[in-house]
Symmetry: D2
């Protein structure tokens, strides 16, 4: 499983007065996608934090292809792109789950940090779990 | 000073596809209002937290009278309504700063908590500062 | 069906630096609850809007009982409370879907409006569908 | 004036449970920056919309260098990067207004659209105003 799909319904709160989803909200959907990716891997992000680790985003990119609208069913496909000692990257394809239309693609780079916010190596078992799917 | 006014500009992100500000965002404006109220009182909320205290909202009410729109200049008038050993309440009047039109009124009750989230008496000097303006 | 339950997962974006869900986000969950209530009733809110109607919130109240946290599975129980010619009210109980712990209760009043934002009678079939479940 | 600086105060709502500003919110700050850029240029984005035009984001990138925290005073420096017939790009530098520390850099590409969401040439006077500062 290198790619995991998660479906969400667009909330009214996520739209703006252009009648479409506000552009920053796609990054929230990416977060939902990678949290579900890690859950499926058996490595809950919530548990990772209780163990004293965090993943801080160091870079994010989104290409907006077609607008998402209120009440659309959205599919977020999250793909693990790379793993290194202190960093993980994910790619995302966001589409309309009903029509299949591609709405956006995105990429995020995350850095492993400790509770003080300092860069630290990923927990070995977490890194191994990620590498196993690459 | 029992009332403090703060002006903010409506962000595009705060609107929804009805073309007006999404209703939950008024509670964010109330937060901005009470943070500025405390700053003017000389009791920064950020400093209060570094001292191990927090204020958790226990109740919130908003009446929506007239819609706020993108780019409107909004005035938040925050009034300290009551202070008790472990609780503080604020009233808010949200209006259009240019036309004066009243857009919403709101009320929040906050409970003093420690870093573990347990109810605790307000710091004595903070409570005294609040009571001095009542 | 006068009450409809919807489950959602708490997003990282919804938390604040107190480590719990930011208080304004509960109103977003209420919106999700009432949109799903209407869908189950066979009266999609998205379709209602395409027909030229909207529901604008005129009042909202939330009582916060216990904090929601990142990754919690949350249950929103939405109950139709009243229907009048131009207004609908809903009650909400928000709880932890796994432990059953009650986290918040809420109430919203909504006013029927036309595309110009003017109060207007609810579409007769929509009103009838709501009254049928009361 | 090819660069315009705008200062904002970090809201509690913008933080997450890592204790820092949630990554999607930087894109909201970029929006604030470019809206203020256009206002200073004498071309209010709100007015542009009333004239039947919009600017839809087609691409966004953020590099996160150092975290922003609650109550920090943040400076958004927005620079017009390029103008074409139907597209505008902006660069952003986001820093702590008090310490000067650089927190993030960002880039957005925007496409000119009409009220139906179709790509359309920028209004000539708007394009001229943008080109005059390049």
């Amino acid at each position: 499983m290198r790619t995991r799909a998660t479906d969400i319904r667009v909330r009214y709160a996520e739209t703006d007065r252009m009648g479409i989803v506000y552009y920053a909200n796609y990054l929230i959907w990416c977060e939902v996608g990678r949290v579900e990716f890690m859950r499926e891997l058996g490595r809950s992000y919530a548990v990772l934090e209780t163990e004293g680790y965090g993943l801080a985003v160091s870079e994010a990119r989104v290409r907006y292809l077609s607008p998402a609208r209120f009440d659309d069913l959205i599919r977020i496909e999250t793909t693990l792109a790379s793993v290194r000692s202190r960093a993980v990257t994910f790619d995302y394809v966001i589409s309309n789950a009903e029509s299949g239309a591609r709405l956006a693609t995105a990429h995020t780079s995350l850095v492993s940090i400790d509770v003080g916010g300092r860069p630290v190596a990923l927990p070995p078992s977490f890194r191994a779990a990620l590498e196993a799917v690459l």
